[in-house]
């Protein structure tokens, strides 16, 4: 199970990173959200995985590590606040700058490259 879990964390991280590296604010926000999922899962896993071990006294057979859970909770809330801010900021940037590129301007395709690919075709 741990292997699958780790694979998922890695995959989510990779997806998040890839999207964060895109040029449009929406993609970036989605990427950051994916990344924060991965982060939360990772942080949670630092307390090791346990089945049927909810950290509630008298409710389960054993008790998992409650501390990472509390940390993840804090991280989720903070992540939510940050994502919310980023989303609205993306809107604001779009409103102020007229486009949704993270750099505030749509990059002009470089002529040299165009010519090159054009030549190749």
């Amino acid at each position: 199970m741990e292997g699958m879990y780790a694979f998922c964390v890695g995959l989510l991280t990779a997806c998040g990173v890839f999207l964060t590296l895109r040029g449009r604010s929406f993609s970036v926000v989605v990427g950051l959200t994916l990344l924060s999922y991965a982060v939360n899962l990772f942080l949670f896993a630092s307390g090791r995985l346990k089945l049927d071990a909810a950290a509630v006294l008298g409710q389960s057979k054993s008790i998992g590590d409650p501390l990472p859970q509390a940390l993840v909770l804090t991280a989720i809330v903070i992540g939510f606040a940050m994502t919310a801010f980023a989303v609205i900021l993306a809107m604001r940037a779009r409103a102020d700058l007229g486009n949704d590129h993270v750099d505030g301007q749509i990059p002009q395709p470089r002529h040299g490259i165009n010519q090159k690919t054009g030549g190749a075709k």
Binding site: A54, V56, Q59, S60
Partner: protein, 89 residues
């Protein structure tokens, strides 16, 4: 017997979830995808309840309850977006 039943039902739900995912990916229309997501919420509720039964714990009921409540809101918001664009107007 119970464990076996739970396993069988769990497999049913797993298949159901995969089918939902298939529809979500397949589309073809956005409405289909929303519908698939909505169904997925319902199947998840069942899954959580089943898990609670499996380990004999009532701790997960609230999670199921929340999915029931919140899944609807998100479906409604998505549809409102498709209809009006602005969901809070």
């Amino acid at each position: 017997m119970l464990i076996w039943t739970i396993t069988i039902v769990a497999i049913c739900i797993c298949i159901a979830l995969i089918l939902n995912l298939w529809r979500l990916i397949q589309g073809p229309t956005i409405s289909d995808r929303i519908l698939a997501l909505d169904t997925m919420y319902i199947n998840t509720i069942a899954l959580i309840l089943l898990y609670g039964m499996y380990i004999g714990s009532g701790l997960y009921f609230e999670a199921a309850l929340l999915i029931a409540m919140l899944g609807f809101v998100s479906t409604a918001a998505l549809c409102k977006y498709l209809l009006r664009g602005d969901i809070i107007e």
